[in-house]
Amino acid sequence: MRTKLDELSFEAKKAILQAESLAELNELRVKYFGKKGLITEISKNMNTLSSEDRPIIGMMVNSVRESIKDQLNEKSKEIEQGILKEQLAKETIDVTLPGNPAPIGSVHPLSKVTQELEDIFIGMGYSVEEGPEVERDYYNFEALNLPKDHPARDMQDTFYITEEILLRSHTSPVQIRTMERMKGQVPVKIICPGKVYRRDDDVTHSHLFTQIEGLVIDRHIRMSDLKGTLLQFVQKMFGTQTQIRLRPSYFPFTEPSAEVDISCMFCGQAGCRICKNSGWIEVLGSGMVHPNVLEMSGYDSTQYSGFAFGIGVERIGMLKYGVNDIRNFYTNDLRLLTQFNHI
């Protein structure tokens, strides 16, 4: 009996080892464990054994059965894995082919710069105010210390619709409207982005351009605060190594007034084409709010002071993104625009 079991076990293991498919393994399973399987038969005939042999042979039969079953399972796993492997190999694709298109558009460079500027000033505690593009002469000029016939009106050649209604030539009227609305309350801390219009069209001027003006009014605002604010802004925009230089200038609505230059980031102030070898690039105009402007819009100039600045968005865009002609911002050539399709 023992020899018979040994032979059976040996035969079974050999057959299992040689099997190549799950079907063959199934046949073997039936051959040994089916209703008329070889192991099944032996188990059925156990009662013919003596009571001494039965437990011993019984244990031997169980052991052989378990070992064949284990081997069957193992082999079956092995074959399954082989099949899967083969299938996966067949499923191989060219993972380098271009992925399916998921089109993305692009943000206009002026929107991109405007949003960036807005976010910098929002981070510094400024609210963003807007106002009409078609304005009254009063808000665009008179309330800004530019009465009719003021010679400085020549500085901004303006599109008129009627004697009193015009296309705003800067976003300063939004400052005036905000001051009127605030009725003398402080602090005023706003930026005013928007389109502005001047009767001017050449390589360096566009009759439409974009401005962001800023206004701060409170008690004891100093010119040094203006300098500090502008330094903070340019360092956030162009990097912490950026320096500023203020040059005295004239705007009717600020006094003292200053043109603001930043250190040239293209040449590290060694001198290049962009900074015209000066090491400095002019980026904005600014100044302390003229007392007449404060008074006209309801702020007592002996109590309050303020500063204001005006940034040309196109100018910043040209510096930041290397756009070389202001008019390119308005040509809307998709070959340029689609370059602004990522962060």
């Binding site: 929107s111 963003v128 078609v134 010679p151 400085a152 004239y250 003292p256």
Partner: protein, 708 residues
């Protein structure tokens, strides 16, 4: 204004500075110098001309600094910048007490415009011989860009350049009477010195001899009164004419010159008589035998002397500086601003008449700041309460719209607001505000009115890009349109913020895995639906419409539902009419325009989260055949109204209308309905009556036949 360093050196010591260094100093303190030209560059290396050390500085003056429209004014500025005093001997040339003269009895003046001519002075010189002026005068004038004429006009110009006072010269023999009249014109024709016949209106100031005008004040002589080679007696005029009158008339006539530039910015009343005396002396000296027969001076308004009080504390508080009293005093002294110190650290400053720009405390603070040097002002941060920075809701929504459209493959454009009226023959405009806003002073007809729609420039942009080889175009613009209901504006016009979109070509480039399908109406509709959903706006509808310029069978009006349930028209989505397509050289093009104000109002920032449903949903499909013109939106509305509260969603998964259906003008449309009960699992028995109700509604309302 050009200035010569040699000429300046007669009034201020410039030794130790090169032309470039002077330019740097001036620029750093507020007078921008555009260029510096050396004498060698000006006259050539081989020049034997006397002023070879000269440098010509071209000043770019801001409108407030008309005091620097002269050599003397610029010399004062140089002194203030360099910390040097003016040469008082040279200044004596403009001291009235340096001159002896007798009054001019031949002429009297009747001034009817004392506000606009506050001071008037005349000198008469006899026996003048007109000829060329000395070479050095000619050189000085040429170097500053003024062409030499003769020994009378050249001195007039020389004095104007030196002291800023315009000098006018008449041929005295042309005057018919002794009474000179200063008066406003009365629609008169005058032949000006340039030989052109001009008409002046009642805003123009004239100098008349009683018979006819001798000049338009401060702008141009009448041609007859100009001096000629045969002139022997000259009448020299040195006067004040107000900036506003000069500006108005010179603009109207298109006559601007060195004189008008100075009058426009208001001249120094104190310089009128000294300038006249000095020019007279020079002309007499340059013309052998000439004799000054008299000088008269009429002052119609007192010269007001302005004083300004400012404290050291205020200066430093305003600038954030710590400027010492000594520094302030030094600055004022080099400015030649006389001052007193009535109390400790308070300055009472007498403003010289040449500095008309200085009228109040802050003007003095500015002088101190710029001469102290902006580079010495420290850097500080704004003190006081902190303020939260923020965008308005409208700005946030606009950013969201931009974001979602870019994510959907659209490219943002920004086009001009000014446009050509021709566009609006074929393009829809707002019927409530049909009036266009036209510019009074356009540059070209192309940019003569404000756009009433975003469409024209989107079409032009598409056309432009097609021409340059970009065939698949998906663009949008967020911007204002402008219109009014007034033919002539008395109020500000309406400015409506709008979104415009344009789509043409294929959805994608040719791709190995995805066919490049042409875009359709449903692409643009799908994108805007996605956008509205993203903004939390659920109640919107598209309704078939007929709008000018758009395809009559492929145009939808878009409505939002207001908070009170009323529909608001917000715009359209459409295929462009073939005629318009052709006009702009486009192929099949799809467009959309939306008014953003209602969208701003109805955007919902709030999300109120519901817990995920506990019970499974049940899906039922219904396919029906209806007439081809039945709107899907109407059928969905019918389904929603009849399906009851368990209906969670209804979608259309198939539309089919070819073969026999097409021949009979019908289409098959298949809906997928999803039902769910909040508290239990729905059974077939639950759904059956609902399904029946929906099918019956479709049959009754739309004559639908159920497809088997």
């Amino acid at each position: 204004m050009k200035v010569s360093t040699t000429w300046l050196s007669e009034y201020i010591d410039l030794r130790g500075y090169t032309g470039e260094e002077l330019a740097e100093q001036l620029t750093a303190h507020g007078i921008e110098v555009d260029s510096v030209l050396s004498a060698a560059e000006l006259y050539g290396q081989e020049s034997s001309l006397q002023e070879t050390e000269d440098n010509i500085l071209d000043l770019d003056l801001t409108p407030n600094r008309s005091d620097c429209l002269s050599i003397i004014g610029t010399a004062y500025e140089m002194g203030a910048v360099l910390g040097r005093y003016m040469d008082s001997n040279s200044l004596n040339r403009y001291n009235v007490s340096s001159y002896n003269y007798s009054p001019l009895n031949l002429f009297s003046v009747n001034n009817e415009a004392e506000q606009d001519c506050k001071c008037y002075a005349l000198a008469l010189i006899e026996n003048v011989q007109i000829g060329p002026s000395p070479l050095w005068i000619q050189q000085r004038l040429s170097a500053l860009g003024v062409a030499p004429v003769n020994n009378v006009v050249d001195y007039a110009n020389y004095i104007m350049l030196e002291c800023g006072q315009p000098i006018n010269i008449y041929d005295a023999d042309q005057f018919s009477g002794a009474q000179i009249q200063i008066r406003f014109a009365d629609e008169e024709n005058i032949m000006t010195a340039d030989g052109l016949e001009r008409t002046v209106d009642s805003t123009a100031l004239l100098i008349s001899d009683g018979r006819k005008p001798a000049s338009i004040a401060g702008i141009s002589n009448a041609a007859d009164y100009e001096i000629s080679p045969g002139t022997h007696r000259i009448l020299i005029e040195s006067a004040h004419f107000s900036g506003s009158v000069t500006r108005k008339t010179s603009r109207k006539l298109g006559l601007r010159n060195e004189k008008t530039v100075r009058f426009e910015k208001e001249i120094n009343l104190e310089m009128i008589l000294p300038a006249l005396l000095r020019v007279s002396e020079l002309i007499v000296a340059a013309s052998p035998g000439a004799k000054l027969s008299g000088v008269s001076h009429w002052q119609y308004a007192p010269i007001e002397h302005k004083t300004i009080k400012v404290s050291q504390e205020k200066i430093n508080r305003y600038l954030g500086t710590e400027i010492s009293g000594e520094q302030i005093e030094a600055i004022l002294e080099y400015l030649h601003f006389p001052f007193e110190i009535p109390e400790n650290s308070v300055y009472l400053i007498s403003v010289p008449k040449r500095r008309g720009d200085i009228t109040q405390e802050v003007d003095i603070i500015e002088e101190i700041a710029r001469l102290y040097g902006y580079e010495h002002i420290p850097v500080s941060l704004v003190q006081g309460v902190t303020t939260p920075g923020r965008l308005t809701n409208e700005q946030r929504i606009r950013r969201s719209i931009r974001h979602i459209l870019i994510q959907s493959g659209f490219n943002e454009t920004i086009t001009y607001s000014l446009t050509h009226p021709k566009h609006f023959n074929m393009i829809p405009v707002n019927p409530l505000y049909p009036q266009a806003v036209f510019l009074n002073n356009p540059m070209t007809e192309d940019r003569s009115m404000l756009r009433m729609s975003l469409l024209p420039h989107l079409l032009e942009t598409a056309s432009f890009n097609l021409k340059y080889g970009t065939e698949n175009i998906a663009i949008f613009e967020i911007g204002n349109i402008y219109c009014s209901n007034e033919p002539v504006l008395t109020q500000l016009p309406q400015e409506f913020p709008c979104l415009g979109m344009l789509l043409t070509g294929k959805r994608t480039h040719p791709h190995w895995n995805c066919p490049a399908q042409p875009v359709s109406y449903y692409d643009i509709k799908g994108t805007v639906e996605k956008m509205l959903n993203y903004l939390g706006i659920e109640s919107y509808s598209f309704e078939g419409a007929q709008i000018q310029g758009l395809h009559p069978g492929r145009t939808a009006s878009i409505y939002l539902k207001d908070n009170d349930g009323n529909p608001i028209y917000v715009g359209y989505a459409a295929q462009l009419h073939p005629d318009v397509q052709k006009q702009y050289d486009l192929k099949e093009t799809f467009v959309l325009e939306l008014s953003l104000k209602p969208i701003y109002r109805l955007t919902d920032f709030g999300i109120s989260a519901q817990s995920a449903p506990k019970y499974p949903s049940v899906q039922r499909d219904i396919a029906v055949v209806v007439h081809a013109h039945v709107y899907a939106a109407a059928m969905i509305a019918g389904i929603k109204s009849s399906a009851g509260e368990w209906l969670e969603d209804v979608s259309i998964f198939d539309v089919y209308s070819s073969g026999s259906l097409a021949q009979t003008g019908q289409k098959s449309i298949a809906f997928s309905l999803v039902f769910r009960h909040p508290d239990r699992t729905l059974t077939d028995d639950d759904i059956y009556p609902v399904y029946e109700r929906v099918v019956n509604t479709l049959k009754e309302q739309f004559a639908a036949e159920l497809r088997q």
